[in-house]
Symmetry: C2
Subunit: 150 residues, 2 copies
DNA sequence: CGATTCTGTGCAATAAAATTGCAATCGACA
DNA sequence: TGTCGATTGCAATTTTATTGCACAGAATCG
């Protein structure tokens, strides 16, 4: 993992639809060398996926929310159960167990409030182990990148 | 935006490195038709980017944290200032203003605690407008997808 | 109801891009 | 300084993307 690899990764994290020739040009390598490096980065798992990102609003899910959750009972198994149930919800795009007063954090992508209500019913109220949950609706997105700084 | 478009978007959100011929096969179209649809989806902005996703641990940023922030003074301009400063930090991958008791939420990708400490110093303590901040370190990631369900 | 337009389709030809073999070069290390 | 292993660039080859074109279906309008 040298300087060129990092440069390549930064470029690919920003826009993976560039042609290999273009990337080669940008990092100052021949196309073949460049391609071999990229392949190596994929095989080693540093690059885990190449995906298309959609504009949330145009995909009909412009509403975002964070939910912090405190569980009633705090065993490892309870946490596992809750996260598993949460992960199965399509509106849940991120689900974590965390340190601190809060036990879990969810990131939601919603179409409307009805969907939110139905989700809360299933996840937090219906025979659940949730003691308290606190919802923060996203008002403004100042930054949202998938790139990991190198 | 018909059924085939949605299918294409789901496929591309999952893996955008597939060849056009493969995608065409999967949605039951000819390669040329398929390509034209994808181009249309890009031009219309539904597909906003195509990016490489890295394995955080292998990229040296395995540590994640959420921070909720309450500001001292609550004007629009104060919020704007804070978010702008936060967004400039490379460790901050997501920055939002939110509804509720909390004013802002940050998502952090960190290499170590020293980086966290330095970030807090810059963002929360150094002549800042932050009244209180609460950090939740991610213990387990149960789900983390970029795909928007369609 | 029929003519017309518009949008989308498949096929085949073309252009562009990725991929590979190979010889040369670079750099670490003895 | 010589040797080994890894990386490079070039050029040939293969694969993939792209485009022109004619046709089919749906919607529009008189």
């Amino acid at each position: 993992m040298d300087k060129i690899d990092r440069k390549l990764l930064n470029l690919l994290q920003d826009d993976a639809s560039r042609t290999n020739a273009e990337l080669a040009e940008l990092v100052g390598l021949s196309p073949s060398s460049c391609l071999r490096r990229i392949r190596r980065l994929k095989e080693s798992g540093v690059i885990s996926h190449v995906v298309a990102l959609l504009a949330p609003a145009k995909a009909g899910r412009g509403m975002k929310a964070f939910v912090t959750i405190e569980l009633e009972r705090h065993g490892e198994q309870y946490m596992r159960d809750f996260l598993e149930r949460a992960a199965q919800e399509t509106a849940v795009t991120q689900a974590y167990s965390v340190s601190g007063q809060t036990d879990a954090v969810l990131m939601l992508r919603l179409t409307d409030m009805d969907e939110f209500d139905a989700l809360c019913e299933r996840l937090f109220r219906e025979r659940s182990n949730v003691a308290r949950y606190y919802t923060m609706f996203v008002i403004r997105t100042a930054k949202e990148v998938t790139a990991i700084p190198l």
